[in-house]
């Protein structure tokens, strides 16, 4: 029985992760503890949410560079609505928002921005790289406009549960990222939309000829990526009890790194959600381990880059061998 590419990629990242963990636990006795395990899981929950959305986009042979800015925008909108509501133009009235309302507004904003990305990409044939690069700037600018450049802090007693609470002995952010992962696994493996996503990434023309509505699928996928960036924004804002206007800068790079390390092909059509999860765990463990060992911040950047490069080289080499 031979392994197919999907399984092989998953296998490799798993081996890499195991080796990384063994090395780190030899170097630091603080690494392999339950406490630190929760720590890492909680820290990677944001990247997992973003990276799952990124995987869907990359599977269609696209890319979404705007996720970090969208995260900041949605976090700011949720925080702003929760704290200040919306002013009514005339009079001293304002519309207050409940926790649920503010969260929904954040998620809707994320989906809307994502859908807009998908719209410019499909309707005007703007390359995804360019369309989402433009959105990276636009969403950051909108965040600065909305927050006027200052953090929105102290958001009330219940909101912090999302980022810092525990449920059945497991941190809430870990529950949320687990739900996101399971949802995406079902989506990619069990649904029609999932099959369409792989088909478009594999061969867009063939997919079009076989009657798949490319625009509809792509807009849905970018909207999902936007919504998942919003979930990330919710987690970050809740953890800090504060929406920072500069939140999420360069988060898109961590997400893309997770996708690539997880073995998803940047040319689309090949890859899995589980691979991305492993990729995100590897990056999270690396971040955590390098700090535990007090490695110089200069070296940390070199090491992280080298790991990404190595992962892709191994991936390329092994897919040739097949």
């Amino acid at each position: 029985m031979s392994l197919n590419t999907k399984n092989l990629a998953r296998f490799q990242s798993l081996i890499a992760l195991v080796i990384l963990c063994i090395v780190l636990s030899c170097l630091s006795d603080k690494f392999l503890t339950v406490d630190n395990g929760w720590n890492v899981m909680r820290q990677i929950s944001v990247n997992i949410c973003i990276a799952v959305g990124m995987t869907l986009v990359v599977l269609t042979s696209g890319i979404d560079l705007s996720v970090g800015s969208v995260l900041a925008l949605c976090g700011a909108i949720t925080a702003g609505l929760l704290k200040n509501g919306v002013d009514v133009p005339s009079g001293d009235l304002y519309i207050g928002f409940t926790l649920f309302g503010a969260i929904m507004a954040g998620l809707l904003t994320g989906s809307a921005v994502g859908a807009f990305n998908g719209f410019t990409i499909t309707r005007f044939k703007v390359p995804p790289f360019v369309a989402t690069l433009a959105m990276l700037t636009i969403a950051r600018g909108l965040t600065l406009l909305y927050t006027k450049g200052f953090p929105i802090s102290v958001l009330g007693d219940h909101f912090d549960f999302i980022g810092t609470g525990w449920f059945l002995g497991i941190p809430v952010p870990v529950w949320i990222s687990a739900i996101v992962v399971l949802g995406a696994v079902v989506l990619t493996n069990k649904t029609q939309l999932g099959r369409y996503i792989y088909a478009i990434g594999g061969n867009e023309n063939a997919a079009r000829l076989s009657g798949i509505k490319i625009s509809k699928v792509k807009i849905t996928v970018y909207a999902l990526a936007g919504a998942l960036a919003a979930v990330g924004g919710l987690l970050v804002t809740s953890r800090l009890d504060s929406a920072q206007p500069n939140a999420g800068i360069s988060y898109e790079l961590d997400a893309i790194a997770a996708v690539v390390i997880g073995g998803t092909s940047l040319s689309g059509g090949k890859g899995t959600i589980w691979g991305t999860v492993l990729g995100a765990v590897i990056i999270g463990v690396l971040n955590n381990g390098l700090v535990l060992l007090n490695v110089s911040p200069f070296w940390q950047q070199v090491v992280k880059g080298a790991v990404i490069l190595l992962a892709v080289i191994i991936d390329k080499a092994s897919s040739k061998n097949e």
Partner: protein
């Protein structure tokens, strides 16, 4: 598609017309700021612009996005657009010198705010915040509060930013003389609150027994505090920041943060705008450099301060 192109052309034509008509009577003052992705610099830039505006000048804020090359573009655009003075917060002490000289050659005076450029002749005047000596004072207070012994952690800002190292060096110029104070970790959190919290969470795993944390800005100090609070160590560990941001001032009031260093962006920005005004009125003999003091804010004197300044 053709309709869109025509629309775009019309738009360009319209804006072109508009530009020609701007033969402004009032002089224009440009505010070129290193970044707008940090509340402190937003405050600096907005205060400078507001002050220049209240003196009767048209103003515009240019964002250099922490990039000296973008800053060069901003200077060229500001000079080309006919701005008569530049209130300038540089991205880099050495890299920005070229830009300042370019303005000087064009006859546009430059007034530096907060950060220095390494040039005596270029800027008309520099109104600077002394991060280094501010951190010397913070270091002294830290030593005193720690009773000269204990384990501490330093959380650095962006490691490619010279402010990061000015602050770190000022702090260490004092603290390193006390062998009882042991730095068990030195990590970067990019001036970011979320990263400050994550780095602190990880450090706490390796060193659960620390007594103090020195952070390169207030956002990271707030993040570090949240990690400590979540680990139930907030009462045991002394956290210090730098900037005088709103959250930290509130944090000191509530006893969450031990101390921060207050810079005075309002004073610097308003002085720079006033200088530009005086320059237009004929004054030329400006002090080359003014150091605006940085003051240590603690629970004892917190009642004198508000965010980014004195009451």
């Amino acid at each position: 598609m053709r309709r869109i192109i025509i629309l775009l052309l019309l738009l360009i034509a319209a804006t072109g017309c508009h530009n020609k008509n701007v033969e402004a009577k009032a002089k224009k003052v440009a505010v070129i700021v290193s970044t707008l992705n940090n509340p402190w610099f937003v405050f600096l830039a907005q205060t400078a612009a507001a002050q220049a505006q209240s003196l009767g000048y048209e103003t515009k804020i240019f964002d250099s996005q922490n990039n000296t090359a973008t800053e060069t573009d901003n200077f060229e655009n500001a000079i080309a657009a006919g701005y008569s003075a530049i209130l300038f917060n540089p991205t880099d002490a050495n890299g920005s010198v070229v830009n300042v000289n370019k303005a000087k050659t064009a006859g546009v005076p430059v007034f530096c705010m907060d950060r220095e450029v390494n040039s005596v002749t270029g800027p008309t005047s520099q109104i600077l915040s002394d991060s280094y000596s501010g951190c010397v004072d913070l270091g002294k207070y830290f030593v005193q509060q720690m009773h000269k012994k204990g384990k501490y952690v330093e959380i650095l800002g962006i490691v490619a930013d010279n402010n990061t190292w000015n602050r770190s060096k000022g702090f260490h110029s004092v603290v390193d003389y006390y062998p009882g104070l042991q730095m068990v970790a030195q990590q970067s959190a990019d001036f970011d609150r979320n990263k400050g919290m994550e780095v602190m969470e990880s450090i706490l795993q390796a060193h659960p027994d620390i007594d103090g944390v020195f952070c390169g800005n207030d956002a990271m100090a707030m993040g570090a505090y949240q990690a400590l609070a979540a680990a139930g160590k907030a009462n045991k560990v002394k956290v210090m920041g730098f900037d005088g941001a709103e959250d930290a001032i509130q944090g000191i009031k509530e006893g969450k943060i031990l101390a921060t260093a207050m810079q005075f962006p309002k004073v610097m920005a308003q002085t720079a705008a006033n200088y530009a005004d005086e320059y237009f009125k004929g004054k030329r003999d400006f002090p080359k450099k003014i150091q605006v003091g940085v003051e240590v804010v603690t629970q004892k004197n917190i009642s004198d301060y508000i965010a980014y300044g004195k009451k």
